[in-house]
Amino acid sequence: MSAASGASAPRNRLAVAGARSTTEAMLRNQPRGDVIRNAIFAGLLLLAVCIALAGLLALLIQAFAKGSSALTLDLITNPPSTAFPDKAGYRPAIIGSLQLIAGVMLFVVPVGIGAAIYLEEYADGSRWWNRLIEINIQNLAAVPSIIYGILGLAFIVRGPMDLGFILAAGSLTLALLVLPMVIIASREALRAVPDSIRQGSLALGATQWQTIRTQVLPASVPGIATGVILAVSRAIGETAPLLLVGATVFVTFDPTPFGSDGYSAMPVQIFNYALRPQEEFQALAAAGIIVMLVVLLAMNSFAIWLRNRYEQRW
């Protein structure tokens, strides 16, 4: 061994020198093409971010420029009026929207969480019908909202349920629209609870329901709440399905859940004001947009805060 290494020593030295110079070359001379390509790519990515933000920014600036003059307390407390645009407001629409969301929550929280618990905790995922249900819930989340409007019109307003054009029918339609979102978000929250917690509970002699009620659900509440808030904030902004199930565009009185005189909602009322040519109504529409944006941003921020603050780390 030693003889062989002695004979090969000069060759070794040569090889080491060669390797070193190659390494040096590789470390120093990054090809110019790579540098430029890197810069271009980073620039394109930054542009994508800017485009996404520019939309929101433009909307905010435009809404503020146009609507700041109409941002008064009257906006919230006064009913709409065609005769006095300077006194007109969103009162019935705001009350309508609040009642709509309350109805959505009433329906979507128990049904959505229940469905999620079934799919996540009870259903045997290896069975084809459970997989079919799963795929269809994913599909439902992608169905355009106008189609839910037609569904609501055919099955809730008329047809089997025959509720008529009342606010509760609008609530149910919106609830159906956001239900898949709630189910998907709740399932993810339930799935985030590690199996070791379920096993630990079951090994103490807890039933499956006790395990879900006392361990799995409490640990997933923040995630589920986040999902519900995001779903509800989507429901607030929906206009198309409401137009089909009877949200009349011009309501000057406070709506009630089951009153058949009609109801309105924020986005519907904004749409109505925006359609009018007069400057004052344009300002009203812009002010309405500001109110809605503030509410939506607040809700989404609250959802994010909730998730960050209370999410269980395992």
Partner: protein
């Protein structure tokens, strides 16, 4: 009935339990047990008897089905939809897999401690009180919790912070909390699935001492990778090994030898056991 056992653990436990076979009270009797997942055997032909107030260790190489077998004993395998148990498994003479036996009731009597400490995301107190609460034993909860924590040699470390979240405890403390949680239910048997594999040597030592202490009240079955641990804590040791069929395509676990621990480690009757415990294979 256990008062004649020395409270001090000076004597190696295996010397205490070399009682004549007939005098041993049996907790489990396994007769030709086979566990299958989706129709494929994981363990096959297991027949053994597990004695009361003994620590029974199961050792063997990875994948030999020790944990699978352990999970049969409190019907945790029922949670896997594709699992199937064949053969006869008697618990105090009662068929554990007989019709009308409720796995939930089984698990109240036969508790389990897992490989990775799995405290609930609640306070230390609520972790221990969880079992009694779901069983509806709400009276004297404070005493039950204290007794369980003392039983798990954790009381002095946590008595001033019972309301703190259990996640703040160290790994070893968490595992002892899981043991406390288990004994608060007052089970008959405690199954331990590699309870020390995620712990440092000091924590491991504490839990081993605890096992020897606890066997006065409970029967313990422990799965371990650590042969020294089996030698230190157990009265009897079962050695399992993987067996291949003639075509070498399917494999399953088989019980090679089951005897008094000292016998297994000093004078095993099977060549394969000798090779394994002396470190030649596995």
């Amino acid at each position: 009935m256990l008062t004649e056992q020395a409270p001090k653990i000076e004597v190696r436990p295996e010397f205490q339990s070399s009682a004549p076979e007939a005098a041993r009270e049996k907790v489990f009797e396994l007769r030709d047990i086979e566990v299958l997942y989706s129709g494929v055997s994981a363990v096959k032909g297991i027949s053994m008897e597990i004695g009361r107030n003994e620590v029974t260790a199961m050792i063997g190489p990875s994948g030999c089905g020790k944990s699978t077998l352990l999970r049969c004993l409190n019907r945790m395998n029922d949670l896997i939809p594709t699992a199937e148990v064949k053969g006869e498994l008697l618990y105090h003479g009662e068929d554990l897999y007989g019709s009308g036996v409720d796995p939930v009731q089984v698990r109240k009597l036969i508790g389990m401690v897992f490989q990775k400490p799995n405290p609930f995301p609640k306070s230390i107190y609520d972790n221990v009180a969880f079992g009694p609460r779901i069983l509806g034993r709400k009276e004297g909860l404070d005493e039950v919790v204290e007794k369980a924590l003392r039983g798990a040699a954790l009381w002095h470390e946590v008595k001033d912070r019972l309301k703190d979240n259990a996640f703040g405890l160290s790994g070893g403390q968490q595992q002892r909390l899981c043991i406390a949680r288990c004994i608060a239910v007052k089970p008959d048997v405690i199954l331990m699935d590699e309870p020390c594999s995620a712990l440092d040597p000091i924590s491991t030592g504490k839990i081993e001492d605890l096992m020897i202490e606890l066997k006065n009240q409970f029967s313990i079955v422990i799965v371990t990778h650590n042969m020294q641990q089996a030698a230190r804590v157990s009265d009897r040791t079962a050695f399992l090994m993987t067996e291949l069929d003639a075509t070498e395509h399917t494999r399953w676990g088989r019980l090679v030898e089951y005897d008094v621990t000292q016998q297994i480690f000093t004078n095993p009757s099977d060549k394969r056991t000798e090779d394994y415990v002396s470190g030649k294979v596995g």
